[in-house]
Symmetry: C2
Subunit: 246 residues, 2 copies
């Protein structure tokens, strides 16, 4: 634990002393995880505080904004090549008034000039992804002691405006559910209408009538009907579907 | 003209010397204008260069990001309270490699340290609005000599990645056409289906069959049918519609 503490302190110092970051801008990722009909979101817990945040980070001066989001996500989950979409940039003046960085830096006993950008206002660019949370490991960063999945409607105390970022991310996920689900690899290559409906119901937080759901989803022309799923009771065997690659 | 030149030089100096702006972040507005079945976008021409840009600006340290977008738009058009929506943040490393600020500052003979943020990379937040371009006056800023409307498919040489910003803004406008049109005040309170179809066709850049358009637009449940528009030939009088306020 001592070794970990020193390592974290070193990373934090490195971050503060870095001349390679764009000041006042960050990226934050709302990584939604679906498994066993529960929708969760990946959060980090700060050191020595009962306070959580989204996996986020800063943008290097020689890095695309999008690369920064991919990198942050990789650093927290070790996942690469995810379907990660930008959904909104949060720039309210008061979004960082709850100044977590200041508290953290004080807690660590670090001496940082009060005009350092890390203690100032941030504008953050939000990215969204949907993955199978049982597949992902999580890795905390310099500011954080743990990284874990929380049900979207049972969030702990969030830092900054991250509760709003999650709400907006969820709105984006729901609005773009067709694209997000098709890109998420949450379903096997071939799946039943029932599996798909159950996924949609969990993400949208509402129930559908089977016929309505089937008609609506087929009208999007994004599914191809395959063979039946034979399970012995042939009469009632459901059809399998797969996503049409676009 | 001399007085104008000095005034512009003063504004530019003031901008460069300002300690009240967040470095490396800007806002850019794609203001689409519709009139007489033509879709245009508002552009500014730089001083002494055959080069154009979107109306944009920087964010004050004590200003909401959204307020900055409203302010920039007000400064360029003197319009207030427009339906202005954020659509994407552009952060590619190479988006500012065509360094217009540097050329402009050199042209003006100003001496600016090479590490000044105005000469560096910018991340820009794009906002989109749809207005009646015949209603708006345009007012150039310190960097620019004129401000005018261009047809979206006949753009002049654009600075930075602003051609991409316009393309993404147009994509956003088309994807959100129902909301944008309803909020735009482009139509009178009561309008015919033909007027609405013509507006949709111009924005989407495609023609529709009358019956298909009517069926599709009515299925959104955003219109209320009113009385007929009596013009003498009562048999063929079309119905008037209005948007349902949400």
């Amino acid at each position: 634990m001592k070794a970990d503490h020193n390592k974290n302190l070193e990373s934090l110092k490195e971050l503060i002393d870095s001349k390679d970051l764009i000041p006042n801008i960050s990226v934050d990722c709302t990584i939604f995880g679906f498994h066993d009909n529960i929708l969760k979101v990946l959060l980090l817990k700060y050191h020595d505080m009962d306070l959580y945040s989204l996996p986020g980070g800063f943008v290097f001066i020689d890095e695309d904004l999008r690369e920064a989001a991919d990198r942050v996500l990789y650093e927290r989950t070790h996942l690469k090549g995810l379907f990660l979409e930008q959904f909104h940039t949060f720039g309210r003046l008061d979004r960082t008034k709850n100044n977590v960085h200041k508290t953290l830096i004080n807690n660590k006993g670090l001496d940082v000039p009060s005009d350092h950008w890390i203690l100032q206002r941030f504008i953050t660019v939000g990215y969204c992804s949907l993955i199978d949370f049982s597949m992902a490991n999580t890795f905390p960063d310099a500011f954080n002691e743990s990284c874990a999945w929380f049900e979207v409607n049972k969030l702990p105390q969030m830092a900054f405006d991250h509760d709003r970022v999650i709400a907006e991310g969820l709105k984006y996920l729901r609005k773009n559910i067709d694209t997000q689900v098709a890109a998420s690899n949450l379903l096997p290559e071939k799946f039943t209408m029932k599996d798909l409906q159950s996924l949609y119901e969990t993400i949208l937080g509402e129930k559908f009538r089977r016929n309505n759901f089937q008609r609506k989803i087929l009208s999007t022309n994004s599914l191809e009907r395959m063979e039946k799923l034979f399970d012995g009771s042939a009469n009632k065997a459901p059809y399998l579907y797969k996503f049409i690659k676009k």
